[in-house]
Symmetry: C3
Subunit: 249 residues, 3 copies
């Protein structure tokens, strides 16, 4: 297990749970930090979609242990000119591509400092920087080691100034619940949502709902469209990207 | 790795393999037991279906190491009035909701003692007791620490007195094999099963079968409907809940 | 974490990511090697298909750390008369069934020595040698312990002499990219491929492609048919086993 000073490393990706990329990335972490503890937090982030993924990431980040290192790779532009970066953020660290994936998290942080990663591995593949670049950097940061880098002006990051809430579905979980990009703290209980033409009221949780379909504040703090013991997404025909509106008053 | 005195922790859930819930629960374990070893035994239990899941759980439990701690969360009633509990059971421990999920396992045990969990975390979400309540309790029990609790009369548990075998399909694996809730020890080799109108004979295993579709005693001790190098479930149109009968004679 | 002398253990299977088999196998490793580190490299290998899986395995193996132990189970003939074996291969070790799964890897190795596993566990199920036989053997080899075995003539292994490249699709990843069994080193950039009647040109990576569909050398060294931010497999109607040809000239 980790040395007492070592930080937990979490992965957040669109790699899928079955394929080779997660373990390859984990092996790359272990090559630099043999005693690291790696938890695969999410492997089914919206594919090729850093924007929607970014709101999910910001929400999940709030639940992570202090000093967690988040290795976040939703990176359709890999091999292009997007910067590799890491961001120190209220004691946690994010490592990944500068494509907007970290924008809401950085915007909501009390303090954040961004760095361009200048370190390069001996071998850098054209298509898998998660394994070749971001994983060893995350491992080194988790151990408290130096990584060649240069401070970045946070306001220059891709997506800087993005709103803190996205009025869209950003994730469908295994139950068919639809996470929105709206923080639960921003919506009062008496508000109703409109999605795919259907009006949805609030319930405290699954047991408290008197409606088949309802919205509630989920366990990572987001407004979620859910249904009792069935898949809300299938019932309402929801996909990632579906728009959500607050019904007036 | 675990201290020599520390017990392995297994998870059994309907969370799905890709989403955030498994790792969030694991992180909650590590917060209480930083050196714990957590194995995700099953993440695709029948959704919202503690009854079918309970027969799968009982079978898998028999294969676990002595002193294993099983963190089992198929919990559609989360946030309602179902009790949180743990059960000591032939040296192993089950932690989870009192909704019938543990009934066959408890019924088949030589010795079992059930406890209502009275301990509560500082923050208890309305919808994710797996992370907020059951995970820290499992971690503490794995370490041999106290957890505020009170003995329960086992006969008062939900599902107490449930039969030891369920004549239904309880799980479809990745190959499309159909696990039933019937213990293999209860059915002789010369018996034939009827499922979806089709009669199925016994084979010792995949290599020994002369039939395309057959039943056998699978590696966790249950009667399973299988097919050689193809998906029996698709061939026979099986879903979780399909009824299985023993053919007379 | 591992003792400094202990080797990482990787699993490569067609078990699927959600079901019980991976963790059962991992628990069997830990019973023999409590401090072992087990990484689940791939759990969605082509089902029942050691031949296609073998080319994927050979490619992934090249990326693993030196001294890795690979526990590879795509084993439709389990319970039949196929031999259990392990192969020492340029410092790494493969453990699994003799059904052709290791043939390309062994053929491409500088040095390889194969052994028939003679050791047997106290209990050997009829259908899950991954858990009962191969996992404890891998654990013992990772620790440097003896395993009862006998040298095999490598030329007698199933699939010995198989070609080093397979001109077929061998794997579809979570993005819908289609891995072929062709090593990238064997195809020059100016060559075009034909697959399902469509001609596909080379690009260095996703960012460099000016075509919607292209081939490139992927991060494990194989020729892959890919598409920018979409699923090439769906676009071209590809499945595992689809034939790939080099266009003349």
């Amino acid at each position: 297990m980790p040395e007492s000073s070592e930080r937990l490393i979490f992965t957040f990706t669109d790699f899928g749970p079955g394929g080779p990329y997660l373990a390859q990335m984990e092996a790359a972490v272990l090559a630099e930090a043999p005693s690291a503890r790696v938890l695969h937090l999410l492997s089914d982030a919206p594919r090729f979609d850093p924007k929607r993924a970014s709101y999910l990431l910001a929400a999940l980040l709030r639940e992570l242990p202090e000093r967690a290192v988040m290795l976040a790779v939703v990176d359709p532009g890999v091999g292009g000119d997007r910067l590799p970066l890491y961001i120190e953020l209220d004691g946690r660290v994010l490592v990944g591509p500068d494509n907007g994936l970290f924008a809401p998290a950085a915007g909501q942080a009390r303090r954040s400092r961004a760095y361009r990663i200048d370190w390069r591995p001996q071998r850098l593949s054209a298509s898998f920087h998660g394994r070749d670049l971001f994983a060893p950097v995350a491992a080194r940061l988790a151990r408290g080691l130096e990584v060649a880098s240069a401070p970045l002006d946070g306001s220059m990051l891709v997506g800087a100034g993005a709103p803190s809430d996205l009025f869209e579905v950003v994730y469908l979980d295994h139950y068919g619940n639809a996470f929105t990009g709206i923080r639960g703290s921003q919506v009062k209980d008496d508000r109703r949502l409109v999605i795919n033409g259907q009006v949805v009221s609030h319930a405290r949780n699954f047991s408290a709902s008197s409606h088949e379909i309802f919205w509630y504040r989920n366990s990572c703090g987001l407004v979620e469209i859910a249904a009792r013991e069935q898949a809300a997404a299938a019932r309402l025909g929801l996909e990632v990207g579906a728009e959500v509106a607050l019904l007036a008053g």
